[in-house]
């Protein structure tokens, strides 16, 4: 093994990236808008908004999906992001990717249009029960619904289309899923189980019930007007996150494998940390200990100290609690330097892409390193005095970034931190 890290493991590099968000499709379009401080958040046009407290989201409306449902659109976004990443990596041959697939996927569940179709088939106009639905479920027109709503269906499609090896792994660690999928790929390559891996994170969950579920947990911003002003991480008046859709994809390889085939190396996936939090189902430990431990674990895994970090791509959801806890953790780990390390939130522009966020924001972190330009945190006009951060307010900034951290935290006590570098240590 020619290229190993400070722990003696194969170095894992990134050779291809793909991204699709409410800002548009592809790295070029997304990067231009992201560094231009443009928001993709808008009023929801996909379904009627009667009675909704939140009426905005970062939906992806330019990709058709028929029949429209979360797994269908999630799959189509994943297709496009993976296509871009594989093309950039120039790896394998068409439909023959030389490694496994790790997919961050939102939980799949039969949705209201499908449930209503079953109810219609019962012929009852009143008093419909699940027993009635069960009685008609074996009618042939529902066969496609069964398959579409199997959890394995999206991964199977991607594995077929891109010819990845073995059984695809679809993971959900809530809003940390994208980070978890990357970590699984890194571990696979480090363990020598594969030379390359395709990582895809996707989420297209903006439908009435999902919006309502988050709304009932008081997690969403209700600052509906103007939509692009709603997501305001680190601001004193932040009031919740904005649901959003998108997909990110990365081709990871061992450095040896990438060099042997003459691939262009876009960056190094140097370290991953994770730590579960046993405090509460939706809230983080107020002492920040799990996230602090997670950051330390990521740095240790990368074989670096906190002084090496030039930029933090924040989880930065724009909820009162997240940024309080994230700053507590960052200020504990980085000490006196914490306030001078740029820490910006892509979510101020693209919203919270949930399951996909970890992969999308990893792509943006690597673009930050490659382009020497840090995307801003927009809507930052009312600083929270409790958070003395350099959040790269409102305007992108040129800066040499050779090492970035990307944070992802999720419901269920899920925390993942990734360390990305321009060059191996």
């Amino acid at each position: 093994m020619a290229h190993t890290d400070s722990h003696g493991r194969p170095i894992v590099v990134v050779t291809g990236m793909g991204v699709l968000t409410s800002l548009g499709e592809g790295q070029r379009d997304n990067w231009a808008k992201l560094t231009g401080g443009i928001s993709g958040i808008k009023r929801i046009s996909r379904f009627p908004l009667d009675h909704m407290r939140t009426t905005i989201a970062g939906t992806v409306d330019f990709v058709p999906a028929d029949p429209f449902c979360a797994p269908e659109l999630s799959q189509r976004l994943a297709d496009r992001a993976a296509e871009e990443a594989i093309a950039e990596a120039g790896i394998g041959t068409k439909g023959n990717f030389p490694g496994p697939l790790f997919l961050a996927l939102p939980p799949v569940e039969i949705e209201w249009p499908q449930r209503q179709a079953l109810a219609a088939a019962t012929g009852r106009n009143d008093g419909v029960s699940y027993a009635d639905l069960i009685a008609v479920a074996d009618q042939p027109q529902f066969r496609d619904t069964y398959r579409r709503f199997l959890f394995a269906s999206v991964g199977e499609h991607l594995a077929d289309r891109f010819g990845t090896r073995g059984n695809p792994i679809a993971t959900s660690t809530a809003c940390a899923s994208g980070g978890t999928a990357i970590q699984l790929a890194v571990e696979s390559i480090r363990a020598g189980l594969s030379d390359a891996a395709l990582v895809v994170g996707t989420d297209a969950s903006v439908n009435p019930e999902s919006l309502i579920r988050f709304s009932l947990l008081s997690a969403l911003s209700t600052r509906n007007d103007p939509p692009e002003g709603a997501s305001r991480p680190f601001s004193k008046d932040r009031d919740g996150f904005v649901m959003a859709e998108g997909a990110g994809a990365l081709v990871l390889e061992s450095m040896d494998h990438a060099l042997a085939r003459g691939a262009r190396i876009l960056g190094v996936l140097a370290g991953c940390g994770e730590r579960a939090d046993a405090f509460h189902r939706t809230r983080s430990s107020p002492d920040g200990k799990p996230v602090i431990a997670c950051l330390h674990a990521a740095l240790a895994d990368a074989g670096i100290g906190p002084e090496a970090v030039d930029y933090i791509n924040a989880h930065g959801t724009s909820t009162p609690e997240n940024e309080r806890m994230e700053w507590l953790a960052v200020s504990t780990v980085f000490g006196d330097r914490a306030g001078s390390i740029p820490i910006s939130s892509n979510k101020s522009m693209i919203g919270h892409t949930l399951t996909a966020a970890g992969t999308i924001e990893a792509v943006f972190s690597l673009l930050t390193i490659r382009n020497g330009r840090i995307p801003p945190t927009i809507n930052y006009h009312d600083p929270d005095p409790a958070l003395p951060v350099d959040c790269v307010p409102n305007v992108a900034r040129d800066a040499q970034v050779s090492c970035a951290i990307s944070n992802s935290f999720g419901f269920g006590g899920q925390n993942v931190c990734l360390v990305m570098r321009a060059e191996p240590v």
Partner: protein, 392 residues
Amino acid sequence: MHERDAVITGIGLISCLGEGPDAHRAALDAPGGFAPVVDGTSYAPYPVHPIVELAWDKQIPKRQDQRQMEAWQRIGTYAAGAALEHAGVKGNAELLSRTHMIVAAGGGERDAAVDAAILSGLPKAENPAAFLNERLLTDLRPTLFLAQLSNLLAGNISIVHGVVGSSRTFMGEEGAGVDAVRTAVARIRAGQGELFLVGGSHNAQRPETPMHYAMGHALLAGEFAPVRARQQGGGGMVLSALGCFLVIESRAHAEARGATAIARIAAVESDRCNRSPGAATANAQRQLAAMMPGEGAAVLSGASGVAAPTQEELAFLDGLGLPTRATATALGHSMEPSFVANLALAADAVSRGSLFAPLEPGEAAMPGTLSQALVTAWGHWRGEGMALVTKA
């Protein structure tokens, strides 16, 4: 023997047959023959295997925690606690702080009454979309979402049992369970972790689950019959409520803390194919070649009962000439944890040195000593997995 061998040191298994390996063995080897536990009426015409009655307090002491969960989470959290207890890890904060958790999960459950009320109201509503929004906003319990998210089984295990080393949830029906175990074993071998809690839960005792698989024509309708016997009538699954977790650790770690290794997971493989005839068999043949079982071997098959894959798998297994048990006859088919549950039965049987009795007339008795067990997991739709469990 190698210090980085993956060994099973704890089993938490709850199903229609009872709680724990001993209760399962007793039910499987019952004098006078095994008697299936089936609820044929609740989701008619589709029978299900119901979970045994449990004192939830035993593994989930806080009522508040119990209330925050739906049944699939309670079943899984209970089984996880039982596995940790069996392994001597439960309550040991130092061990739990570095226990890595991999959970295979489907989705959470719905509020059936709310769904039914909305479906009944929608056809009469003046503005159906507005009606849907209004009813959901009013009728959904805020905490129900947390009982629906796939990763919240793991989240509840962290909260109730204090497992915080790491927490990952895999989705994808049967294959998710196989890959959860495969990932844990690979990480142990690579030195990426010493101590793992791996498993999942499934609850068929909620109407939307039989409804979903009925849409796929994947269920046995009507009278219960064992997995092989039901093939004459076109096959189909009998789904179950079941929870199973295993504590899996490196041999070195188990020995250092004085834990008893129940059995070793000598190999575990997973793959996929498009299920054209013979394709799954080809995968299984490749997997078998990587783990050739020797003397004293038997097979625990996870065949779901769905006609095409079950018949192809049983034909392949019959060709091996080993005593075989299609365990879905007894445990029902439990999707994500089905493979983990079969590993649990295999580990227990191997540690006892004997295979349990045939579950139906088409299965042969195994009078000799059992020293290893091949465990298969062909998904009812996709995914093929196999493992070899040997004496510790």
